[in-house]
Symmetry: C2
Subunit: 520 residues, 2 copies
Amino acid sequence: MPPPPSVRSFASTTEVVSPGASSVRTTAAAAARNAPSSVPSKLRKAITLESMNQHLRKADYAVRGRLAIRAEELREKLKEKNHKLPFVEVVNANIGNPQAMDQQPITFFRQVLALVQYPALLESEAAATIFPIDARERASVLLQEIGSVGAYSQSQGVPYIRQSIANFIAARDGFSADPGDIYLAGGASSAVSSLMTTICNGPKTGVLIPVPQYPLYSATLTIENATAVPYLLDESTGWGTDTAYIASVVRQTIASGVALKAMVVINPCNPTGSSLTAAKIKDIISLAAEYCFMILADEVYQTNIYEGEFLSFKRMLRELQRDFPGKYDSVELASLHSTSKGMVGECGQRGGYLELVGFDPEVREELYKLISISLCPVVTGQVLTELMVNPPKEGDESYPLYKKEYDTIYTALRERAMTLFDAFKEMEGVRCQEPKGAMYLFPTITLPAKAIQEAQRLNEEPDEFYCLQLLESTGVCVVPGSGFGQKDGTFHFRTTFLAPGKEYVDRMLAFHKEFLEKFS
Amino acid sequence: MPPPPSVRSFASTTEVVSPGASSVRTTAAAAARNAPSSVPSKLRKAITLESMNQHLRKADYAVRGRLAIRAEELREKLKEKNHKLPFVEVVNANIGNPQAMDQQPITFFRQVLALVQYPALLESEAAATIFPIDARERASVLLQEIGSVGAYSQSQGVPYIRQSIANFIAARDGFSADPGDIYLAGGASSAVSSLMTTICNGPKTGVLIPVPQYPLYSATLTIENATAVPYLLDESTGWGTDTAYIASVVRQTIASGVALKAMVVINPCNPTGSSLTAAKIKDIISLAAEYCFMILADEVYQTNIYEGEFLSFKRMLRELQRDFPGKYDSVELASLHSTSKGMVGECGQRGGYLELVGFDPEVREELYKLISISLCPVVTGQVLTELMVNPPKEGDESYPLYKKEYDTIYTALRERAMTLFDAFKEMEGVRCQEPKGAMYLFPTITLPAKAIQEAQRLNEEPDEFYCLQLLESTGVCVVPGSGFGQKDGTFHFRTTFLAPGKEYVDRMLAFHKEFLEKFS
């Protein structure tokens, strides 16, 4: 029978039986009589590894995996008096978490956030001596638009904030942007997850992902039971994209019967730290137009650029649409930005947004339904996103301090990147691309045969073995290349360059020397 | 061939081809030659209603559905000079969003949140005159434990905050709680979504959900492609649970070959406003032990109690385990709490937690992996959760104001509930349970045959038709019972009782009278 209207929205339902249908008061005995012989024993669990979501079981997420867990254990051990560890601090170079290192928040951002949390400060004369006028004015404007940061906003985000983001994109790209295309999110990760849930329709859905890649993408596709179609980045050209090669992967995929729906591009790249040229970006957009797949441009590192300027996929698409009328109108682009990276570095505040271009309006309605189920992204994270895209301008009271703080962070990141890069140049068998963007270095390591054998004996990936040894002897936690994917037979690790000082770098240098001696 | 190690973690992948495999520089022409004849036309989209996630398409979420969208349109229209609408304000009684009405945040909570956002205030003498000593002390303690609210925390949440939550649960229930069992979340909705993703393994996974229910559950199960097994609440006993009947549904489900994995119980209940007795809760736990399914206890309304005291599933389980040694050891319980409801009402701050009891440790590791992919819940939401469970105590500087604000909100909610309840008593053909808990009333409406025919003509659910008419003539937005599920042939709507004043209630009274006259 068809399910009754009251439950028509369920995926599939059993018949609704009305109360009173069973008039016998149930008892353990009665239940046992009526229940099938498979009634479980007292110790059996309903949710087991075997009965749970098998796609989730298959998913890997190395960034907070085995090494991160061991690093936490070592951090606890350091608190013991006689810990006997050969280091005094654990350095979490496994995750881009700037404020867990010594990166300070931008004062203006935190002042406005404090004011929207406690608006009474706007009426306080004492507070007027603490908060600059532009911070107080911004807080007033935002409160007028938002009401309370304790109220749900529209699921897509506060309209005023979406307009502010559209203005930022227009200024960045030189092409207008529509606030209706902006979706605020609780960090870029949650935007990716919503988008993937919307586009994935089982194993026949193919999504191109770079190798190496940030494992958020492989993990999300695994959970969605979609097909990840890896395309290798070319280490020999500074981790660039090889368009002819990608085109061949695309053709192979289409020929294999997988419906290629999207391509993930991370630019500037996590984990490689590389950054794409205009020509490379336009090549990718041309492929997307040719073969009809959506581009997911992860651009959360757009201000972490240490060479050249950032070029957004949106801008490159608009240029192509301008220069070749009609040819690129169908292209679907989703681009991501976040308050967690760049000079903002406010990971814990969970701010970010998604811009959708060229999407089918009916599909957007379905995405809207999905995000509305979780009601709205955290409103203070939305406020921080507004502050990121609309910071103090020259002439504003807060501008000089903002500029100073911003430049100091930028310079520190660049210097730290070079310190680590220079150290890698000294390491035997280690090769690394010059830092161009993002927060990471992704060196190749040539491991001695003996080390590879030892890893196999321990049933570990060779680079995982190397990283575990590094952690145990230096307290420095990095992520093995195998956690991001890499060309077979090559080994890498990803390290952030957020940690201050050179002391931990020297520990890495000493370890590497000993490691090679031990296993050669 | 098996996928290479570099991509072993993907659900399924195509072979990794290396750069250079295709040496021909691709051109549109070459691509067209090589591509299958199905190469899409310029106007074709990659993501369409037909190609996207079909489970998401099937999902319904009425709380922010058609009525909410129309309400937004009307709110915009009110801004026009000659809008000619028969009302001057839109009342969003469709969603429990207290601070979008006139509910004020608790001062102490916002003071501490402002201080953790801008710690410089702790050093400012001027600020010392604004912030009470206990707010400054709490902020200092939290900052010591957290570092910066701009840093990622542990994926499960800040250890200190989990300990604070465990202390609260122990004091509430009289049984100890383990901080290791607590998972902070960005609102209860995201906790539900993570848990459902973990336990659902396709259509053979059955989850009991109440009818009527908060559509988060049906929508999430639909997206997960699991089987929702509805059990009707019994309106004739104040929307109580009929244990014998539920047992028969359980036996039917097991007999039908669906693996019954979990039961959702919302207590106090959204949308019905009812609240379960100790006996009813223990009956449900007994069924769970007997038939081996997990209980998901949605207890976000645990302080919205207007009659009797709140009894948690955790406490009832611990009592059963104490009174019947061994018999209930296997029971798996997940209970939810949130900062969005109760006297806190901070929906936009996205705070809440999940407590897991009796879960398989390996399954918990998989859940941990899932939540670690989205890194961590917003840290300020975690801070607010700590403040909710550990508010000012008698003798603290902030206690008198906290107590006054808390009691004022509680009294206002209770009075508003009664105002609306009394109005429903005056409405012909409307019956409603006395408000006992939560933020909602869920009256039955008897609709005239003519109104039902008109609804069918417009292809609307009869109660949807009623609610749309109500919105158009009064500006009051409620949610039709069909959005929550209801016994066939019965009609309801859900309204919050958060709106201040009686004026909107009078508009509803007048509308109802006219509606009946029009269609009788």
